[in-house]
Subunit: 96 residues, 2 copies
DNA sequence: TCGATAGGAAAGCGCTGACTTGCCTATGAT
DNA sequence: ATCATAGGCAAGTCAGCGCTTTCCTATCGA
């Protein structure tokens, strides 16, 4: 739970989540390419790799290996848990 | 929006939000006292003051002065905005 | 008016975190 | 078998953040 907030604290990581929300099952290189072209982020491959590791540790990103590729998928479950902490439970159960 | 995530990144600030969610309209000294007694946080008054400033800048805490007192209230509106960024809009409007 | 109380400003320190660079492993194509 | 590709590991650098300390301002009670 602590890791989720830390993971969300970085703007680059939020961009990555945006990117995965837009298109699931991207590899590291795909994400690199899209971040640089679409958002103009000039970041090394290793930098993004580390960000993905943080997101995965926080449970915000799920990964699966396939050959020499590793695909990343967004997992919004931890986000839904955050909101129950301070938002009154008038948030309906369907949102959890 | 950027400030909201940064503000939420620190565990002490989340404790403060918890405290304000539990009881509204607390002064700085009240918050200090409650954090130390209830949560065992050994933090200086100035430390908490700075945390409150960060929370206020992020819009998560609203303040109003009354004489020499400054009361703090929780404002969950920025949290509700986070919902829409990655969670699908199947979250009903009533939760926003 | 004087002192106590509530809060703010600014400087300084230590530590964490983001990012790069260089090297290493594993899978796939030729 | 060999080389390119996809990805990981580790060390090192640098800026930002949390926290303390010290000093300063403003409001209230005696």
């Amino acid at each position: 739970m602590d890791d989720v907030f830390k993971a969300l604290a970085d703007p680059t990581r939020r961009r990555i989540l945006d990117e995965l929300a837009d298109r699931d099952s991207q590899s590291l290189f795909e994400i690199c390419a899209r971040l640089t072209t679409k958002h103009g982020l000039g970041l090394s491959r290793q930098g993004i790799s580390q960000h993905l590791a943080v997101l995965e540790a926080a449970g915000l990103v799920r990964t699966r290996r396939q050959g020499r590729y590793k695909f990343h998928d967004l997992n919004t479950e931890p986000l839904e848990r955050i909101l129950n902490r301070w938002l009154r439970p008038d948030v309906p159960e369907s949102a959890q």
